[in-house]
């Protein structure tokens, strides 16, 4: 015990040396406790909140009460937050970074000193060893500069994550310490010129040398963030693997590649719309010799590694988006409060107020979703929050885009100029909808994964029904009648309810949507079976409903907690929650009715036809309004 204490103490001393000298005095006892608590993993639990929504079930235990961190963690976090915030406010010149398309070295050094290059690397390897929740909190601040946020994310959310989650102890010991201090920068090399959306076309090849000790990498990777700076790269390549039947197959394997291995050349940095300070290049590997010890995980397991890295990194975008929008609310609110038009302040106009309400609602939902998901991931057990993380990413990337655009609109023409940061934020946040899996792919992923989950359980029942098994048919009919007579009740409200009574109405709306969603999914499975994969327009709606449901859950859970423990301005939270839930409820109702058979609201056939007509000619095909025929 005392030995442990000593280790922890020494660790924190090491970390404290950088900036937090004050922390050393507080030290060890509680730190040890929460550290050990944080890393306990038991494999019994399997999270399935979003997936179970597809079955019409609400696993309220997973999301209620809203996850919180201990006081000690909070205190620790706040000590990180203050200096980082100070640094970003005082030492980072975002306009200059954007203008010169480069992050100055002194800024990078400052980030390194703050330890921001190793936020999630365990302390034994010299990192800060923070949990996902705390990472999300820091992400709120780092996102104030898009270029820095992307550089940091490419480094640790994806670049070195492979070593962290699937690397051997030797690999960790060798690479993590230098990565944690920022001495080495990491990059994640997956995308290739020919493979944007189709992994099967990864062409970069790794061939085993004759002595069997090295792999030779040959090929090109595209759009690699930090590509020009990275010293350590996680590279995905095709390797020949002999499978069980003795057949040779191409499988993807992940490698740790050091630039020092030779044969690695980076191209010219791409000139981008936003996040201009981040370094995005092409990387070419030419007979790069990689020792076999540098394989991450098993040979041929690269795809799983890539997915784990990406699936769990996405949640942080919620925090990042919220950070940006909160900042912009402050900036634009100041303008709206001072600028006068027609002898009235801008803030008195209804349409301007509407914009601020939209922004506040979106931030609130983004935050709630991000920290709920982060909390789920931090819980002991095997966290499989990929669905939730994907939903956070989709919702917050789109919400951020809308909010930044609205904030810009408040300033009108001024917002459009480079004198104000709005246009830069607008450009920067556009990438959120594109990288780490485009929103389209993630919607498909969310919808199909859920469909698969529901399908496994419902297939038998649906088959019986199709066969005309009277028992099953009557059972379902009975259930339907029951559903129509009494409203759905998942026990969120009322006696033993988990939602605060002042949110009862919103909770009811959520329950109603959730129940309807379950039966709609069943209907879709009944109607389309496995051909559902081709119904992308339906799946998009399914995904949107699910995202709304998850968002409703998050705000209900968060505001219930806020009321119960009496957080400041919790009445405002209630207002936001009720407003959002009502809005989402009606949107869901509309989408769910579109998903019914023969729905008059559903225009998918027309939409497809329009697109086909246009795409067949690859142009807008209507005649010009000024055309004549005689």
């Amino acid at each position: 015990m005392s030995l442990n204490k000593f280790i922890v103490l020494s660790r924190s001393v090491r970390r404290g040396r950088n900036l937090f000298a004050a922390r050393v005095a507080q030290t060890g006892e509680y730190l040890y406790q929460f550290q050990s608590q944080r890393f306990i993993r038991s494999s019994s639990r399997s999270l399935a909140y979003a997936k179970d929504l597809f079955l019409g079930k609400v696993n309220k235990k997973e999301v209620f009460p809203y996850p919180e961190i201990s006081n000690e963690e909070l205190e620790e976090l706040n000590q990180f937050v203050q200096p980082v915030e100070k640094f970003f406010n005082e030492s980072v010149d975002s306009a200059k970074i954007d203008r010169e398309a480069n992050i100055p070295p002194e800024t990078l050094d400052g980030l390194k000193e703050l330890g921001l290059f190793g936020i999630q690397i365990p302390e034994e390897y010299g990192g800060l060893g923070l949990s996902n929740t705390m990472y999300a909190r820091l992400g709120e601040i780092t996102s104030l500069d898009g270029s820095i946020a992307v550089t940091l994310a490419a480094h640790q959310a994806i670049g070195l994550k492979g070593i962290l989650i699937a690397g051997t102890d030797a690999q960790k010991a060798k690479y993590l310490p230098k990565l944690a201090t920022g001495e080495h920068i990491a990059a994640f090399c997956l995308t290739e010129p020919g493979s944007g959306s189709d992994a099967a076309s990864i062409q970069l090849r790794a061939t085993l040398t004759e002595d069997g000790k090295h792999y030779l990498l040959n090929g090109t990777k595209f759009w690699i963030s930090n590509g020009g700076w990275a010293d350590i790269m996680t590279v995905f390549a095709r390797t020949e693997v002999v499978d069980k039947d003795g057949q040779k197959k191409d499988k993807i394997t992940a490698f740790i590649v050091e630039r020092a291995f030779g044969g690695v050349t980076s191209g010219k940095p791409e000139d981008k719309l936003g996040i201009r300070g981040s370094n995005t290049t092409e990387i070419t590997f030419e007979d790069t010799k990689v020792p076999i010890e540098n394989v991450i995980g098993e040979v041929g397991d690269g795809f799983k590694v890539a997915m784990n890295i990406l699936n769990n990194g996405r949640f942080s975008m919620g925090g990042a988006g919220a950070g940006v929008v909160k900042k912009l609310i402050e900036l634009s609110a100041e303008y709206a409060g001072t600028r006068k038009q027609f002898n009235r302040r801008l803030s008195e106009f209804g349409m301007i107020q509407d914009k601020f309400a939209t922004m506040a609602l979106n931030v609130y939902v983004m935050e709630s979703m991000a920290y709920l998901t982060a909390g789920m991931m931090d819980r002991p057990g095997l966290p499989d929050c990929s669905l939730e993380a994907a939903m956070v990413k989709v919702f917050s990337s789109e919400g951020t885009w809308i909010c930044v655009s609205e904030a810009l609109q408040v300033l009108g023409g001024l917002g459009f100029t480079k004198n104000y940061p709005y246009e830069r934020y607008l450009r920067d946040c556009r990438i959120l909808q594109i990288f780490e899996g485009t929103n389209e792919i993630l919607r498909m992923y969310v919808a199909l994964t859920g469909m698969q989950h529901a399908g496994k359980i419902l297939t038998g029942k649906i088959k019986e029904m199709k066969k005309g098994n009277l028992g099953v048919v009557f059972e379902i009919l009975g259930k339907k009648i029951k559903d129509t007579v009494q409203t759905a009740d998942f026990g969120l409200t009322g006696k033993d309810g988990v939602v605060h009574p002042s949110l009862t109405e919103s909770a009811k709306m959520f329950e109603q949507n959730a129940a309807c969603f379950g039966s709609t999914v069943e209907g879709l499975l009944y109607r389309y079976g496995k051909t559902i994969v081709d119904e992308q327009l339906l799946l998009k709606k399914v995904a949107d409903v699910l995202i709304n449901l998850y968002a409703m859950t998050a705000v209900l859970s968060r505001s219930s907690r806020s009321i119960s423990i009496g957080l400041r301005n919790h009445d405002h939270e209630v207002l936001l929650t009720n407003t959002f839930c009502k809005d989402a409820h009606f949107k869901n109702n509309y989408m769910l009715s579109q998903l019914q058979r023969y729905s008059p609201e559903n225009d998918d056939a027309n939409i497809k036809k329009i697109a086909q007509d246009v795409l067949a000619k690859r142009a807008y095909i209507c005649s010009h309004p000024l055309e004549r025929t005689f």
């Binding site: 189709d198 099967a200 990929s386 389209e440 792919i441 994964t449 399908g455 297939t459 994969v533 005689f630």
Partner: protein, 452 residues
């Protein structure tokens, strides 16, 4: 009341006599004379229209008088017999049958007789002759023809005239002019309408016909999704490019000009003409060809006809036999990449034991007949094997695999040849479509050869 009744009866009688073919001239004449004689009105009308007279017409006095004489002869003739005006065009034009000549004949007819006697016959004759003069698609010529009708004479003056078929022969003739325009797809213009209104009045049969044409023509103008221009490119290379893109119907397909047409004169004075070779191939076709089994031959086939309005061109295909089902190789994709539960690239299938429900299965049962792949197409100035092998060697630059595949030429007789004896089963339509018979059969009908 009774007066109007009386009038009505009188009108009826007149119309009746009209129908019977004995025009009651005494009654009508005053009105007519009144309309026609004061020239002011007539001139006014003439001024309104942009009236084009050909320059030749006014200068060539001598010729004109000839025609005048002819016309006179005709009309003179006509008094005795029922000869039409057909000959006048033939005789007037002589050898050169052009728009100018045609216009001149019409002008002469118009200027000859103020009363335009026999104009209906003249117009019918002119309509018949239009294709000969190559003016059947020219709206200005039709307008000129309509201009032959005297103005305002046939416009009904009162409701009784309006009610009955006023001047049926003339109206019918007017309709016939429009009918011919319709048949040749000529869209009337505003001048046509002005003329028709002046000649027949607002609610006459020709105007109705005009309105119907104007209702349907614009509607049908763009119904063809693959329009052929009226004037085709004259350069054979341009024409070939146009045709090949039209057949390929693939926006990715790329045209390659393997050889431009040229004529060289060698030292010995021999003339060597190099025919044009224009080919088209899409990326899909290229990748299909790259996967072709080199043991199986590919075929160069043709010529196949393609009609563009009046013109027929021929093209050649490079194709293969369909792959027998047992030799087909299914491309295997790593199931890991497309399975559900993966978010990198979206899941491409769900593993469910459920199929689409009957009520939602909107697919048709289409019986698909498998055919061999077509790898490329070309058009060439000559359809002989030497020219086409040049095309194949040009294709090899992008598809090196063609070098290993045996190429079989299965060529029908060239486009300008027709075998007099139809000896075998192959392609009867090929023979019927060509119209010239060339006696000396230079090329064998089926030139078959294997090029390695």
């Amino acid at each position: 009341m009774s007066a109007s009744h009386h009038l009505l009866r009188l009108q009826c009688v007149r119309c009746l006599s009209h129908f019977l073919g004995t025009p009651v001239r005494q009654v009508i004449l005053p009105g007519r004379a009144h309309l026609q004689t004061p020239g002011s009105q007539h001139i006014y009308v003439q001024l309104l229209r942009p009236f084009h007279r050909s320059a030749v017409c006014s200068t060539d006095r001598q010729n004109r008088t000839d025609i005048e004489k002819l016309v006179e002869d005709e009309t003179h003739h006509k008094d005795k017999t029922l000869v039409t005006h057909d000959d006048i065009f033939d005789r007037a034009a002589g050898d050169s049958k052009t728009k100018v000549e045609f216009n001149r004949v019409v002008d002469v007819f118009k200027s000859k007789d103020i009363r335009r006697r026999g104009h209906v016959e003249f117009i019918y004759a002119a309509l018949k002759k239009m294709p000969e003069f190559g003016v059947e698609c020219d709206v200005t010529v039709y307008n000129k023809l309509l201009d032959v009708f005297p103005k305002e004479v046939f416009v009904p003056q009162n409701f009784i005239q309006r009610m009955f078929n006023h001047y049926p022969r003339q109206q019918e003739c007017g309709v016939q002019v429009l009918e011919q325009m319709e048949n040749y797809g000529v869209m009337p213009n505003i001048e046509t309408k002005v003329l028709l209104v002046q000649i027949f009045g607002e609610k006459s049969h020709p105007i109705r016909k005009f309105q119907r044409i104007m209702y349907w023509f614009p509607k049908f103008k763009h119904t063809n999704p693959y329009p052929v221009p009226h004037v085709l490119p004259s350069d054979p290379v341009d024409l070939a490019q146009f045709c090949l893109t039209r057949i390929a119907a693939d926006l990715d397909a790329k045209i390659t000009i393997y050889q431009y047409p040229s004529t060289d004169i060698t030292e010995t004075g021999e003339e060597i003409t190099r025919p044009h070779i224009v080919g088209i191939q899409s990326p899909d076709q290229r990748s299909l060809l790259a996967k072709h089994n080199p043991c199986k031959p590919v075929f160069v086939e043709g010529p196949y006809p393609l009609w563009l309005r009046q013109k027929c061109v021929h093209y050649y295909l490079l194709r293969a036999d369909p792959i027998p089902p047992e030799e087909k190789v299914e491309e295997e994709i790593d199931p890991e990449m497309i399975c559900p539960e993966q978010s990198l690239f979206f899941p491409q299938r769900v593993e469910l034991d459920l199929n689409v429900d009957m009520g939602d299965d909107h697919s048709f049962n289409v019986d698909e007949v498998e055919e061999g792949a077509v790898y490329a197409m070309c058009m060439a100035g000559q359809g002989d094997q030497a020219t086409l092998s040049q095309w194949i060697s040009g294709l090899q630059e992008t598809c090196p695999i063609l070098g290993q595949i045996p190429t079989v030429f299965r060529l029908e007789s060239g486009p300008r040849e027709l075998q007099t004896s139809t000896d075998d089963h192959q392609r009867p339509e090929q023979e019927s479509e060509t119209d010239q018979i060339i006696e000396d059969d230079e090329e064998p009908r089926h030139s078959q050869g294997v090029k390695q």
